[in-house]
């Protein structure tokens, strides 16, 4: 059914889904991500990774709600949200929905242009703010995201290539609660994108296949391409790179990341952690609210 070259094995459906559950469970235990009885909030997008994560956590017995954010990226956002909603409805799961335009007065395309930020930068910053806010307000014990092995390896590759050591400490797959932040974890770090897509297919999980139209030219896509060229020649290279970093080098920068967080003040507008008087998200809101809306052209969206 699927070949995993880094494990030198082919798997049938049954054993592949067991493999994914075991890898997820092992990650959660090794990094002390979740405890029995924890109220978990899953950041969901309608894509393969977040829906697979939510499915895995439910099957492992965790109480997990979902949160999907309406980013306002035209048909793509509507379609993605639809997949998340149908996934939740079919399984009787609770899915919270926050619409950027309704709650904050702007969508991501408009916000990115108004703030003169790259779309992925404005999107990522906005999502992190909303995830944190909903997690804290809902008294969830932990927020989990669908970052997978390929995502983390690509981010690490970029951080190392440019020696952005201030970001290396943030790559530990668990960030403890404190200094105004909720506990956050990434349970999928042992599993790659190919595995997550395969998990969705064999588990009957429909997800949006098409890429976000605003992600074209995203530098991380380029890093992933480079890393997959290496993986083609050296199966297991991505896992060695990222998991090796966690085992052998991450501890060097973890303390620095924790110190950085504890030195932050609080935003005078929303109360979230902030480097200045107003946090970056509230500054974005100020610039974007009332700005001329950006209209996106039609987007071709393909389902699984």
């Amino acid at each position: 059914m699927i070949d995993l070259r880094r494990h030198n094995a082919n798997f049938c459906s049954e054993h592949f889904t067991k493999f994914c559950r075991d890898q997820d469970s092992r990650t959660i235990e090794e990094f002390d991500m979740l405890s029995p009885g924890d109220r978990v909030l899953v950041a969901v997008s309608g894509g393969k990774d977040s829906l697979a994560l939510w499915d895995l956590l439910i099957r492992l017995g965790y109480e997990a709600d979902g949160l999907v954010i309406g980013l306002g990226i035209g048909e793509y956002s509507q379609s993605s949200t639809g997949y998340a909603q149908r996934f939740a409805e079919a399984r009787g799961l609770n899915l919270e929905y926050v619409d950027m335009e309704q709650r904050y007065g702007f969508d991501i395309p408009t916000g990115a242009r108004a703030a003169k930020r790259a779309p992925c930068s404005a999107c990522g910053m906005s999502k992190r703010h909303v995830f944190d806010e909903v997690t804290m307000a809902g008294d969830y014990d932990v927020l989990v995201t669908g970052h997978n092995l390929d995502d983390e390896a690509a981010v690490l590759f970029g951080n190392v290539m440019h020696w952005q050591t201030e970001y290396l400490g943030r790559q530990w797959p668990v960030l403890e609660a404190g200094s105004g932040f909720p506990k956050k974890a990434k349970p999928l770090i042992r599993l790659g994108e190919r595995e997550m897509a395969a998990y969705c297919i064999v588990s009957g999980i429909d997800y949006v296949v098409e890429e976000c139209p605003m992600s074209k030219g995203n530098k991380h896509l380029g890093y992933k391409e480079v890393l997959n060229e290496m993986e083609l020649r050296q199966p297991g290279a991505k896992a060695d790179f990222y998991l090796g970093f966690l085992r052998r080098a991450a501890s060097v920068w973890r303390a620095e990341a924790q110190t950085g967080r504890s030195e932050l003040g609080r935003c005078a507008s929303c109360g979230a952690p902030a480097g200045g008087e107003i946090c970056a998200f509230c500054r974005l809101v100020e610039r974007a609210t009332g700005a001329e809306p950006v209209t996106l052209g039609p987007t071709r969206v393909r389902s699984s």
């Binding site: 059914m1 699927i2 992925c120 990522g124 995201t145 669908g146 296949v209 992933k224 391409e225 083609l232």
Partner: protein
């Protein structure tokens, strides 16, 4: 022809795609028939899902 051979012919990286033959996921050493319906599904996403 095998799935791997077809991927090489199409200049695809097998780490970036999944092959679905007649609605079923297949590994790289699976053999293809002229009558097979093939979906080549990209798996790389641009950001956090």
């Amino acid at each position: 022809m095998s799935v791997v051979k077809l991927m090489n012919r199409l200049d695809l990286n097998r780490e970036s795609v999944l092959f679905i033959r007649n609605g079923t996921l297949v590994p790289g050493d699976a053999m293809l028939d002229d009558t097979d319906e093939i979906e080549i599904r990209p798996v790389i996403s641009g950001g956090a899902a």
